[in-house]
Subunit: 133 residues, 4 copies
Amino acid sequence: MQNIVILAGNIGQDPETRNTQSGTSITHFTLATSRPRYSEGKVVRDKDGYRVQDTEWHRITAFNGLGKTIQQHCEKGMKVLVRGRIHYTKWTDQQGVERYGCEIIAETVDFLSRAKQTQNEDGKFIDDDDIPF
Amino acid sequence: MQNIVILAGNIGQDPETRNTQSGTSITHFTLATSRPRYSEGKVVRDKDGYRVQDTEWHRITAFNGLGKTIQQHCEKGMKVLVRGRIHYTKWTDQQGVERYGCEIIAETVDFLSRAKQTQNEDGKFIDDDDIPF
Amino acid sequence: MQNIVILAGNIGQDPETRNTQSGTSITHFTLATSRPRYSEGKVVRDKDGYRVQDTEWHRITAFNGLGKTIQQHCEKGMKVLVRGRIHYTKWTDQQGVERYGCEIIAETVDFLSRAKQTQNEDGKFIDDDDIPF
Amino acid sequence: MQNIVILAGNIGQDPETRNTQSGTSITHFTLATSRPRYSEGKVVRDKDGYRVQDTEWHRITAFNGLGKTIQQHCEKGMKVLVRGRIHYTKWTDQQGVERYGCEIIAETVDFLSRAKQTQNEDGKFIDDDDIPF
DNA sequence: TTTT
DNA sequence: TTTT
């Protein structure tokens, strides 16, 4: 049954891609979504008059082709819209403590800012077919 | 910017509600979403021929009025559709280790199964106005 | 840029499938979504005390494989969850008047009720691999 | 049951607001969402090498406070993210022909471009509290 | 821990 | 035209 996430926000760090032994490539980046804090129906401001924002930092994971497109065309600061699903992870850390994590597996990514252009080794720009807009 | 989650699944345990010192009530329940596992584009089956499902267990939080409606009308096994947002939490456990969590703050809940009816102390059923269908 | 629709509701009529000359198959069904009517923050009731519902009837279109799964496993009255996108259509009617329509192109359909089972010509049930749960 | 729409796109014309006799204010604007056309899994290009886009023009309706915020801070060309629901309308035109329409009732609007600033009659900028970011 |  |  459906597990759908839609996030529009800003990329926190340049994406990173690694390859697994099985040949799958995995791309990670972080995405900030913010919303103004409300208290009793009113916007909350700090002492300098700026609105207080609550920011959530999401860890986004993309595989293979979508991951490569992200690696080539996304960078820190870009605004993107991610559609995907929530996935929870569990592992044991070096102290033997059980740890839990949560990530968003991306299924589509739309660029809300101008996409970064990446040149290939031969100096040509990567084929725009990869850019989903 | 938008942080939207839509989950359709089954409730794992009866909801629990507690009240904070500030007068806010907080209701929690767990929700299972499942999807068939695919490998190379094909459904994966176990040795008995049943499809393998990957289940994600989400922790859902609802406040005040919505939480009370959930407490009164939801129970283990019911199918619901939750719309909400992702919220990450961080705390220090009793061993002094930093821990991270993830929960879904519910904004609406639709009942996809028949809602549980709860009687008040006077034996009357709680007003259906609370039930969102 | 994203155009995402998520609808949970009841199927109004058995789905219908037709084939185009180009070999694409197109499946249509209607889906009702309802919400209680509110006025000044309160549920509205009719003279018999029943809550007034506002129902929207959506026209859903699915192509090829997804359409065939719907044709085989969905019927009038079933509850489904559709994810898709809005598409507007325009045509000229027999009186030469320009007409506009709106349909939801389904990308995924989850069954929230028990799926209908369809027997093949040889009396066997269609392979469950088609059923998305 | 849920009827959720999420659209990210560009505003086609400056919003327009009118007031009904009952005191409700209604704001309308149009929003374009585009997606590259695919044929047999490949991007389609026109004779000049540009990708062919399919654009859907959505009619967005917002009421009262949300509508006023849109009127004050949105203009043609801005990028926005709308969350809302689909609503179908029916009316009889001047020739007595039954006509059908479809609109998106906005529940939230996020600005993906810099919001337009509007001055009040006294020359002051409208309170930023209205801007949802 | 749910469900089909 | 569905459903509760």
